[in-house]
């Protein structure tokens, strides 16, 4: 191997995501497939900024889901591209189907995994359950315990990946590393990174017309042989990783090993931990040493291939080893516990006792004094420790039983059908009378001026009787149900980002079944799904599925033109040229590059009985549509409504201006008010007839900094394109409204 000496380094201040993004830019990938998810979203945002400013020529493509993003990466790699992706948690699991395909196809690439717990109830914080799921996917796995190593491991990972023909994950702790700002060193010249990584090795690829190749044939008994290929590649990686680590150390002075051992090599007690927890524990190892209590800390930098030999050596003569994991295999020994145990057993070590602990999940920190020290003490004192440490519950570090005397009084009463019936038998909309409709939700923690609950408040005034809500992941969900409290006064369920409509289908099926059999009270319930526009990117297939099955549910989309909960990334609904956190206004690219998605027209093709748009500026119209939606589900049909919803935070708009903004969007026909009943289109408001039509720029200019630039001279071309698109759609809509067969 060619060794380069001492490439110049410079100071870099940033968090783990900044470091990953910097490495991506320094490596100079050909492409990145992207879909946002906390806590990894920033990585793509930083890359997109570099692209917008002309500082990077990487092909940066935002998918409709994580599965789409990794599929895009697969395609790029099949075409010979050097590619990268980032994700976390649910995002990784959504990619799951593609992951073994990528390793099976032998495509090198890097996936940055900012780890996060996957669970219901939803949690966005650290946990290694995503990482654990990936252990058997045939991907190389590198661990980055701190911000510095996030940068370094990215560079090392692509080199190893390309050398053996396998994809690689670089795993760093969500929030604890992704959002930890530190002072680190990076290469002063990206050219040195390029020199270290080297040229892309020649690889069979789909663009090679001289050698036409079939990738991904259908295979039966032969498949076992592909497993040998994978195993051999892992074996080769095991051989070359130490050399690549050494070469990197030569260049940077930063040395990595399969397994790092920290502390007293001859200690009897030790702890094994991954990533940021191991970093935090080092301090305590030093302090215990000063107290003459030598302990050993073990942390692997590589999980795949599993460095069994190095691990056995690291354990050495330990009598007791606490194996601390940020994940649990309920009902079984834990992941690392199993792997380390098996390695020790094969090596003939039957004296080291492994003590499993599950810690730091879902945001619990791992602190030197409160966590690391007591864990080392546990190893030192075992088995002479308090019995509570030996129970099932005791394995879950920091879990608590709760207060047995806590019996909070009821602060609400069940809502009755009588008190929530204010629409039945009325033709007109009387807002004064409807002020009597009790709200189905209470205080929430959305930003001041957020449009979500304005919309829902208006809509729900038109819905009588019992209601069950189903929310997709998004702001609406996050600001209402922070445990242990709930904003909802009626039953509610959240099940993933994109599954509300399918979940509703299941619930409504059982509701009708049990009601027909007399197994539940004979009371009407209206099931209402609420989703952001992002939920209808990633969940478009499931939404269309519900519409095609004509399931009797109401589905509301609050369209705030972005993925607001994760920090304002672009949604396919976004306006051409709109500024998003992953589509910034740069020197060479300005904002979102495509026109806004039209979900109602997409759904028109399902022939669902009732589709509509609504606007808070026209409350009577919206409440009337709520009544019609409820009538539709009473008739056994599917109803969908799209409601435009201001997001003052991510639009940068005046919170007080929400109603005015929506009014202008309606009058400019960006958001025309109409409904489709059994295929027949009705315009509910035609601004042309009342001389109220305005150009799109009149709306865009009051919508905050995400849009307002589009009303400036500099972006006249974009504004013109938006206007043309809006005009075309408006003309088509009018034609449909005039002709019932269109």
């Amino acid at each position: 191997m060619q060794l380069l000496n001492n490439a110049k380094q410079k100071m870099f201040l940033g968090n783990g995501n900044d470091a990953a993004a910097q490495a991506i830019l320094d490596i100079k990938f050909d492409g990145e497939g992207y879909y946002p998810i906390t806590p990894s979203s920033e990585v793509g945002e930083i890359v997109s900024k570099a692209v917008a400013d002309g500082k990077s020529d990487i092909s940066f493509v935002v998918g409709t889901s994580e599965l789409a993003a990794i599929g895009i990466c697969t395609g790029m790699a099949l075409a010979g591209g050097r590619v990268v992706d980032v994700t976390s948690a649910q995002g990784l699991l959504l990619k799951a189907e593609e992951m073994p395909s990528i390793s099976g196809l032998g495509l090198p690439m890097v996936l940055n995994l900012s780890t996060r717990e996957v669970n219901a109830p939803l949690n966005i914080k650290n946990g290694h359950s995503d990482l654990a799921a990936a252990l058997g996917w045939g991907w190389l796995i590198f661990m980055a315990p701190n911000v510095q190593s996030v940068y370094d491991m990215n560079i090392i990972a692509i080199k190893v990946a390309e050398a053996v023909g396998l994809p690689a994950i670089v795993a760093y702790d969500g929030f604890h590393t992704s959002h930890a700002n530190r002072r680190i060193e990076i290469f002063e010249n990206a050219a040195d990174v390029a020199a270290f990584v080297g040229d892309k090795p020649a690889r069979q690829n789909i663009l090679d017309l001289e050698h036409p190749t079939t990738f991904g044939p259908y295979m039966n008994d032969d498949l076992i042989n592909t497993k040998v290929l994978l195993e051999r590649k892992m074996a080769k990686a095991y051989e070359i990783i130490p050399q690549i680590f050494a070469a990197y150390a030569e260049l940077t002075g930063r040395q990595y090993d399969f397994v790092e051992v920290y502390g007293d090599a001859n200690a009897e007690s030790g702890m094994l931990a991954l990533n940021s927890a191991a970093e935090a524990a080092k301090t305590v190892v030093d302090e215990l040493q000063e107290e003459d209590k030598g302990v050993k800390l073990i942390t692997p930098y590589v999980l795949r291939p599993f460095p069994a030999k190095a691990m056995v050596e690291a354990v050495g003569g330990l009598k007791r080893l606490v194996v601390a994991e940020r994940v649990s295999q309920y009902g079984a020994a834990n992941y690392m516990e199993n792997e380390v145990g098996a390695a020790l057993q094969k090596a003939g070590n039957s004296t080291t006792e492994l003590i499993s602990r599950v810690y730091g999940i879902g945001g619990l920190n791992f602190r030197p004094d409160e966590d690391a020290r007591p864990m080392f003490e546990l190893a030192m004192n075992w088995p002479n420790v308090d019995d509570s440490h030996k129970t099932l519950e005791g394995r879950y570090w920091g879990a608590w039983p709760g207060d047995a005397n806590y019996h909070p009084p009821a602060t609400l009463k069940r809502m009755t059908t009588e008190e929530t019936t204010w629409n039945a038998g009325r033709d007109k909309i009387d807002l004064k009378e409807l002020s009597n409709m009790p709200s189905r939700f209470e205080k929430h923690s959305a930003c001041p001026g957020c449009g979500i609950f304005t919309n829902l408040n208006q809509f729900m005034r038109g819905i009588d009787g019992n209601v069950v809500f189903l929310f997709n992941t998004g702001c609406g969900m996050v600001v209402t149900t922070g445990f242990p409290q709930t904003t909802f006064k009626v039953s509610y369920v959240h099940n993933l980002f994109h599954n509300a409509s399918s979940t509703a289908t299941g619930i409504v099926e059982m509701y009708h079944r049990f009601r027909a059999k007399g197994e539940i009270p004979d009371e009407e319930i209206t099931f209402i799904c609420v989703s952001g526009d992002g939920g209808d990117d990633i969940g478009m297939d499931q939404l269309i599925g519900s519409a095609l099955r004509n399931d009797p549910i109401i589905f509301l989309e609050y369209d705030n033109k972005g993925y607001m909960n994760t920090g304002g990334q672009l949604c396919y609904t976004g306006i051409l040229g709109q500024r998003n956190s992953n589509a910034p206004i740069g020197k060479v690219v300005a904002g979102k590059q495509t026109q806004h998605k039209d979900i109602v027209e997409i759904l028109r093709g399902t022939n669902a009985p009732y589709l509509f748009t609504g606007a808070e500026s026209n409350p009577r119209d919206l409440i009337m549509k709520a009544r019609k939606a409820q009538a539709t589900v009473r008739n056994g049909g599917f109803a969908f409504g799209k409601l435009f919803s201001p997001c003052p935070l991510n639009w940068g708009s005046d919170p007080a201006m929400g109603n005015e903004i929506i009014d202008r969007l309606v009058k400019s026909c960006v958001h025309p008010l109409y409904e489709i009943e059994n295929g027949v289109t009705t315009l509910n408001y035609n601004p042309e007839k009342v001389n109220a039509k305005i150009p799109v720029t009149e709306a865009l200019k009051v919508m905050g900094s995400a849009f307002a630039h589009l009303a400036n001279e500099k972006y006249a071309k974009e504004a013109e394109e938006i206007q043309r698109e809006v005009d075309t759609r408006w003309e088509r809509l009018k034609a449909r409204a005039e002709n019932p067969v269109l």
Binding site: L13, P39, N436, H444
Partner: protein
């Protein structure tokens, strides 16, 4: 190299600062800038860790900044739970969050408030240390900068950062808003009022906050479900989320058009009884002023108005 000395050092060599604010205050940016000054101008090392979560405007958030001399290992992640320096962007967070917990003895406390250092000490139950108070909202308004600038300035000041280093970084970071930001910096240092309190036994030191709630594995509903009737947000108070005064209501001018009811972003804030608008429930209202924007001009004026327009000082609501 400078002769800068950290104002505090715990046994691992760190000065721990905690910035407590609400989403939108810019606490993150303040900490980021201070970290930059520390590393780039003073050759310090350290860490700044933002509170993790979905950052909605108006929800409590905190940022931790830990500084040490270069060469001290920086290994722990997550926010400090034992601050030496506490910087509070919204006075009402002191009580809501119990900010005295984990605060070290001889602490330094900076609070954006109109109250006196003595009143703040009592509100905080400060064991000992120095309290600096300033009306950061007013300074921001007067200097056309943002709330985080005077707060950052005071923090830089108590950290003992040389003024030249701070102004240099402000200039680099906001080249187009140097004047207002520098003015805010200077005004904060000039206008703040400080007082020191000895460990006189008036208040005890408090241990860091624990995450444990009353619900644990023995009494949690299956699957972590929430019992609607007993665990509702009905009793909550949204007051801390207001960064400007709530609207004023004049029943005389109201024509019961219900526009406010249809636009309110925190439904429940607009209270109707018997088909009449009767007022605003401040436990809901986040002062977005959507209702003020739509309330019609009647013969008797507008029923809903923005009191800030009548010149209310920033910390008096």
């Amino acid at each position: 190299m400078s002769t800068y000395q950290l104002p505090y050092q715990d046994r691992r060599g760190f000065t721990n600062c905690l910035l407590s604010a609400i989403g939108g205050d810019g606490a993150n940016m303040a900490a980021k800038l201070l970290f930059k000054i520390a590393a780039e101008e003073l050759n310090l090392d350290g860490a700044y860790d933002a509170k993790y979560g979905s950052e909605k405007k108006g929800t409590p958030t905190d940022v931790s900044l830990r500084l040490c001399n270069f060469g001290t290992p920086v290994r722990e992640s997550g926010p400090t739970n034992r601050p030496h320096i506490l910087c509070v962007f919204r006075e009402n967070l002191i009580r809501t969050l119990g900010l005295n917990r984990g605060l070290q003895e001889h602490a330094t406390v900076i609070v954006n408030t109109c109250k006196s250092p003595e009143e703040i000490r009592d509100a905080l139950h400060l064991h000992s240390g120095t309290v600096h108070v300033l009306d950061a909202g007013k300074i921001a308004l007067e200097t056309h900068s943002r709330l985080n600038m005077p707060m950052m300035a005071m923090l830089a000041h108590v950290l003992g950062f040389p003024e030249a280093a701070v102004i240099k970084k402000i200039t680099e970071t906001w080249p187009r808003a140097v004047e207002p930001n520098v003015a805010a910096y200077k005004a904060a240092v000039d206008q703040s009022v400080s007082k020191s309190f000895a460990a006189d036994g008036k208040y005890q030191l408090a241990e860091p906050a624990e995450v444990r709630s009353a619900i644990g594995y023995d009494n949690m509903l299956d699957g972590g479900a929430v019992d609607t009737l007993t665990q509702s947000t009905v009793g909550r108070n949204n007051a801390y989320a207001r960064s400007n005064p709530a609207p004023a209501f004049n029943r005389e001018a109201c024509i019961d058009c219900a526009k406010c009811m249809t636009v309110c972003a925190d439904p429940g804030a607009i209270v109707w009884e018997n088909g009449k608008m009767v007022g605003i429930d401040l436990a809901y209202c986040k002062a977005c002023l959507r209702c003020v924007a739509v309330c019609p001009e009647t013969k008797k004026g507008k029923a809903l108005t923005d009191p800030a327009k009548e010149g209310v000082v920033t910390c008096s609501f």
